[in-house]
Symmetry: D2
Subunit: 367 residues, 4 copies
C-alpha cells in the first residue's frame, strides 16, 4: 500500500475532507507506524471542529486510538511498561508526550503542563509528512518517545476506546482530589467523563455515588456502571431541587466529594453547593474555555472547600487504566459504551452523533 | 463595682451606644469573669456594623480580647494547655467554641464548621445577663468550655491584640493549604490578615514572599515583617501589570502559593492567574459575603490548581499562635501593629479608623 | 431478673469463673443497660487471658459486643449518628471513649492516644457495680458518653461480630497508610485482622491483593473475600521464597503497600522487604508487645519506605464500618467468619479455639 | 595541560594513590569538562574507603564538588535551571543522574531509586578515559545529562561545599517527612547531616529544635545554626536520661518530629521513643548498612508513629539548596562548616580528619 485514507479537518465548522496521503516508507529510529483498528470520537473533537480551541489546520482529528504495529523503528523493542513489542501487536498510546526535563516536568512534577506537549489529533498539522498524526485515518505514525502500550489479549479494543481519554482524565483528576474510603460522591455529568469518573470513584473506595445528568440513556448507563442513585436533569430542572435531593441522599450534609464532568461554568457554582462543608470539588470537565459565570468566592471560605483542577494525564495513568479495564470488565463494561460505529468516510456523521449526545461513544473503524 | 461600661451595637450603620450593665455577681461553674485590658477592632467588626452579616442585635462587638481573671467559676483550675489559672492572670481565649461531638467535630474533623458555634462579639446578644459577651466593654464573661489561655509574662498584650484573629485565621488557612519549603508565595492584601499570612508564610518555609496591597504605610509594615517584595496597588493599577511583575519575580512562572487576604471577589480572579500551573490558592479573606464576580472555571482545569478555603480557627491554633508570638517578637513585631488606641466611649471612631484603612490595628483600652 | 451471669477472668492462665452479679437497678443519666446478644472472642482476649497485657483483675472479657437496649438512662434519645434510640433496639458501641479535650484529642487529633481511654472488656474491673463492663455476660452496662450505634435491620449480628474490632482497626490503619488507586497490596496474616484488612484494601481501590498466611481454611476464607492470590506459609516456608513469589506477582518490584496483621516481630522484617522501593508498610498487628527482632534500619533509608502504626479506632470508624458491612454483605461475607458458637459457660473453650486458630471467629451467645 | 592529578582509591583501608591522568582532549556533545575548585569530604567517603559499600575500584572519591567550566561540549548552552552557561562559570552538579523513563522515575516518581543511577566519586571506576569522574582531582568530567548549576556570584564556594550532599539529603528527607508549622523537632546527630537537618527544619517552620550529639565543637556549631537546645551525648550518656530531657523540653510528650542523622542502628530505637504518640520519625542517616539492632515493632503500633526513609536527592533539591544558601548565609553559615583544608596530595589526611570527627567539614583544594 502506497497511500492511505485520512479524514481531515481543513476548516472549522465545515465538513471534514477525505484525503489520501503517502504512507511513510521510512520510519525513523524510535518511531512506530501503526495500522489503525479503531479511533474514538471525543467530545473535545467536537469543540475542535467548532473552532473552540486555537489549533493549526489542517489536522487529522482523533486522539484515542488502537492499532496494530505495522513497522517498528530501529531501537524499539519494548513498550512503555517493558513488554516486548513486535509487528502485529495491538497497541494504544498517550496522545501527548512530556519532555521530562523542564521546570514543570522535573522541578514541579506536573508533566501534563510541560510546554513541549503536542497531542496527536490536535496539535500536529497533517499537510507535511508523515501526515498520519491523528486517529481518523488508516495509519498512525508515532514519533520517537511516544509512550506505547501493548494491549493484553483478553482486553477488547472496544473497552479501550469506550473508556477513551475520559478514563485517564478521570484517573488523574481523582488522584489529585483523593477520595477517602466510603466517601459519598456526586458526579455531575453522565457523558464519557462522568461515566469514567463514576467507575474510578466506585473502585477507589467511594461509598454512595450519585450521578446527575441527562438524557435518560446516559443515566441508564450510569446505573449499569454502579451508580447508587441518579438525578435526571430533565426531572429536577432547578439547582435547588437537585441540592435538596443530594442532601437527602447524604444525611443532610452534601457530598464529601463532587466531580464536575460537564464543562458548563454554571455546573461549578451548583457543584460547590453540593459539597458538604470541608468537602472536595474537582473541576474536571473544563478542558475547553466555556466562558464565565457569576461566582461568589465566599462559598469557598465559608464551607472551607478544597477545589482541584486536573489537566490531561500521564503515561502511568494509561498503564493503570489498561490493567483496570482488564480486571474489571464485568463491573465496569466500558466496551458497552461503544454504541455507534462509522467508517472514515462517515467521520462527519460520527462527530454530529457525538455533538448531539445520541451516542454513548461513537467510533471510527477504518476499512 | 456593681455596673460596668460597654459599647453596644443597637442598629446597623448607626453610632454605637454606651451602656452600663450589671456585672455578674455569680459566675457559674466552669465560667470565668475577666476584666478587659484591651480589645482589638477587626475588619469583620466594620462589616458587622454595616449590617453585612446576619446577626441579632444588640451586641457588644469585639472578638479579639485580652483581660485579667476577675472571678474563676467553680472547677476552673487550669487553662486549655494545662497551665494553672488564678485570679489576676492575664488571659486570652478563642471567640467561639465547638461542641466536639457532632458530625463536623467528630466525624469530619472540621470543628470550625460545628453548627453550635457562636462567637463572642458576634453571636451573643447583650440584652440579657450576663451581658458582657464582647470585647468593647470593661468586663468579659466567659461561658463554661471557653478555651482560655494564660499569657506568658514576656509577651506584651499589644502583640496578642496586634496579631488578633487575623493570625489564627492565617495559621489555619496556611495549615490547610500547605507551603512547601522554599515555595514562592504571593500575599494579596496588606491589612491585618495579609500581614499575618506573610508572617506565617515566612516562618513556615516560604522562599520569596511578595505582598500586593495599599496604602503605602501598610506596605511599609509588610517590609517590616520581612516581605521580599511589595507591589503597590496605587502604582501598578492593572491586574495585567501586577501579573507581569509577579511573573518577573518568580522566574516567569507565577507563585507556588497565593494567599488571598483581601475580601473582594475580583481578587480571586486575579489571584488564580498569579499562581503557576499546579499552584495553590487560598481564599482566606472572604469571611463575609462580598458578592459575585465573573469567573472562568477553565483556569482551574487548565492550570490544574488547588484552591482552598478556611473558616475561623481552632483552639490549637491559638495555642500555637501564642508560642509563636512569644518566640518571634523581633522578627514579626505584631505589637507594632497597634497604631491607634481608643477608649470604650470612642468605639465609633475606632471603627471608622479601621474602615478607612488609616490604622494598622485600632484597639480599645477601657478606662 | 435480679442477677445475671458473667464469665470472669480472675487469674491469668487459669479457667474463667462463672459469676452472678446484680443487674443494675438504677441506670445513671446518659448511661444505657444492654442485654447481650452476642460477644466476639478477639485474639487480644487470648493475650489478656495469658497475662500479656498489664490489666487489673477481675475482668469480664469481651470488647466486641451486640445487644438490645434494656434501659435507657435519662437524656439518651439518639445514637451517635443521630438515629433515635429506644428500648429493644439492637446496638453496638466502641469499646473505649476519648475525652475530646486533651492534648492528644484536641491539639494533635490523635484521640486513640487519649490518656483517659479505658476499654470495656479490658480496663474495667468487674468486682464493683455496675459489674457488667465486658461482653462475656448476659448484660452490658454502657457508661455515659459511650458511642452507641443502632444497627440497621438488614445487617445481621453475625456480620458485626464477625468483623469485630478487627475491621475498625483495619479501617483506621489503612486510613493512616493510604492506598492509592490500583496499588498492589500484600496482607501479612489471614486471621480476623488480615481478612478485614483485605476487605478494606479491596474496597479502598487496591489492584491486586496478595494474602500470606495459614492454615489453609483461613486462606480459603481470604479467597472468599476476594484475595487475588494467597501464599501459604506451610508451603513457602522461607521468607526468601515468599519474597520471590511476591515479586513475581508484582512485576518484579514488590508491593506498593504491605499490611502487617500478624503480631510477630519477624513479620515486620520480612514485610519491609516485600515492599517496592518507596512503598508503604503498616504495622497493624502489634497491639501487644511481642518482643524484639534483629532489625536493620538501613532498609528504611535505602528503600525510602514509609512505615505507619495505628492504634485502635475512633467512633467515626465504627460508623463507617456499619455502613460498609450493610452495603457489602455479598462481596465481603463477614457473617461467615462466625464459625464457632459458645455459651457463657463455655467461654474457656471459646478462648482455646481462638488461641489454636481452629476458628475463623468464635463467639459467645448468652443463654 | 596534558595531564592532571587525581587521588585514587585503589584498595580499601589503604592509602589513596596519587595518579596523573590524561585530561580529555575531546569533550563529547552534551558533556562538560570542569576544573575543580574545591571538593568536599563526605562521611560516606570514609565508609567507601573502609570498604563498607560494594564499589568497583579504582575510584576517584569525591561527590561534592565545585569547579569552573573548562570546556563545554557541543549543545550545552544552559544550566539545569535555564541560566546561560559559558567557559569560566563556577558550577556544581548532582553526583547522580536518573533516567527519567523507568518504573521508579516515571511510574512511581521515586527517581532517586532509578536503577540506572551511578554517582560520581562512587560508581565510576577511573582506570579508563575520561578518568576524571570524582572530586579529589584537578579536573572533573561531566557526562551528558549531568544536571549542572551555575552558582550565583554572591554565594561563596565554601557555602556550597560546607553544605555538601548533607544539605540536599536533608532537604529531600524533610520533604518526605513533612514538618508542620511550629512542630517541636529533635535532630539526632550533630555532624554535617545533623547540622543541615537543623537548618532545613528551622527554615521549614519548626518551633523548638533540639540537637542531640557530640563532641562539643559540633554542638557549638549547632547553636550557631539556631538550635534551641542541645543535648551532649557525653553528658547525658544514657538513652533514658536523654528521653527525660527531651520530654522536659516538649511539655512532657516528646517531639512531633525526630530526624535521625547518626547512622547507628541503636539511634533508631532511641529515636522512636523520643517521638510523641502520633509523631514522625525520619531514618536519614542510614545511607550505609550498619547492621541490625534489637527492635520492638510494638512501639510503632502503640505510638501510631509514621516512619520515613529517604535516599539521596533530586536535581530540584540542589536547585532549591543553592537558592536557600544564597538567601540565608547569615542565619545558616554553612561556609563556617569548612574548618579543614587539604591539597590533593593530603587526601588521606583529609579522610582521617573526617573519620575522627575532628573537623566540621574537611575539603580538598587542588593546587
Amino acid at each position: 500500500m502506497r497511500t492511505a485514507k485520512a479524514s481531515v479537518l481543513e476548516a472549522f465548522n465545515a465538513p471534514l475532507r477525505l484525503h489520501e496521503y503517502e504512507v511513510p516508507a521510512h520510519v525513523e529510529p524510535g518511531a512506530v507506524l501503526v495500522r489503525t483498528e479503531m479511533a474514538g470520537i471525543c467530545g473535545t473533537d467536537v469543540h475542535l471542529w467548532q473552532g473552540q480551541l486555537p489549533i493549526h489546520l489542517p489536522v487529522i482529528l482523533g486522539h484515542e486510538t488502537v492499532g496494530h504495529v505495522a513497522v517498528l523503528g530501529e531501537g524499539v523493542e519494548k513498550d512503555w511498561s517493558g513488554k516486548p513489542l513486535k509487528v502485529g501487536d495491538r497497541v494504544t498510546w498517550n496522545s501527548a508526550v512530556s519532555c521530562g526535563q523542564c521546570y514543570y516536568c522535573a522541578v514541579k512534577k506536573q508533566p501534563t503542563r510541560c510546554a513541549q506537549r503536542r497531542a496527536y489529533g490536535i496539535g500536529y498539522p497533517c499537510n507535511c509528512a508523515p501526515h498520519f498524526l491523528g486517529g481518523y485515518a488508516e495509519f498512525h505514525y508515532l514519533h520517537p518517545r511516544t509512550t506505547i502500550f501493548k494491549l493484553p489479549d483478553e482486553l477488547p479494543t472496544e473497552s479501550v476506546i469506550g473508556a477513551g481519554c475520559a478514563l485517564i482524565t478521570a484517573i488523574h483528576g481523582i488522584e489529585r482530589t483523593g477520595i477517602a474510603w466510603q466517601d459519598n460522591v456526586v458526579v455531575q455529568g453522565a457523558g464519557p467523563v462522568g461515566i469514567a469518573a463514576l467507575a474510578v470513584a466506585k473502585s477507589a473506595g467511594a461509598g454512595k455515588v450519585i450521578v446527575i445528568g441527562a438524557p435518560s440513556h446516559r443515566l441508564e448507563m450510569a446505573k449499569r456502571f454502579g451508580a447508587d442513585a441518579v438525578i435526571d436533569l430533565n426531572e429536577l430542572r432547578e439547582p435547588a431541587a437537585r441540592l435538596a435531593k443530594v442532601r437527602e441522599l447524604t444525611g443532610g450534609y452534601g457530598a464529601d466529594v463532587v466531580l464536575e464532568c460537564v464543562g458548563h461554568p454554571s455546573a461549578v457554582v451548583e457543584g460547590m453547593e453540593l459539597c458538604r462543608d470541608g468537602g472536595k470539588y474537582l473541576v474536571l470537565g473544563h478542558y475547553c474555555d466555556a466562558g464565565t459565570v457569576a461566582f461568589n468566592p465566599h462559598v469557598i471560605t465559608r464551607k472551607q472547600l478544597q477545589v482541584f483542577g486536573s489537566w490531561s494525564s500521564e503515561p502511568r495513568h494509561l498503564q493503570a487504566a489498561i490493567e483496570f479495564l482488564r480486571r474489571h470488565q464485568q463491573e465496569f463494561p466500558f466496551h458497552e459504551m461503544v454504541t455507534h460505529r462509522f467508517t472514515i468516510e462517515q467521520a462527519d456523521e460520527a462527530l454530529r452523533t457525538t455533538a448531539t449526545w445520541q451516542s454513548a461513544k461513537s467510533v471510527i473503524v477504518p476499512g
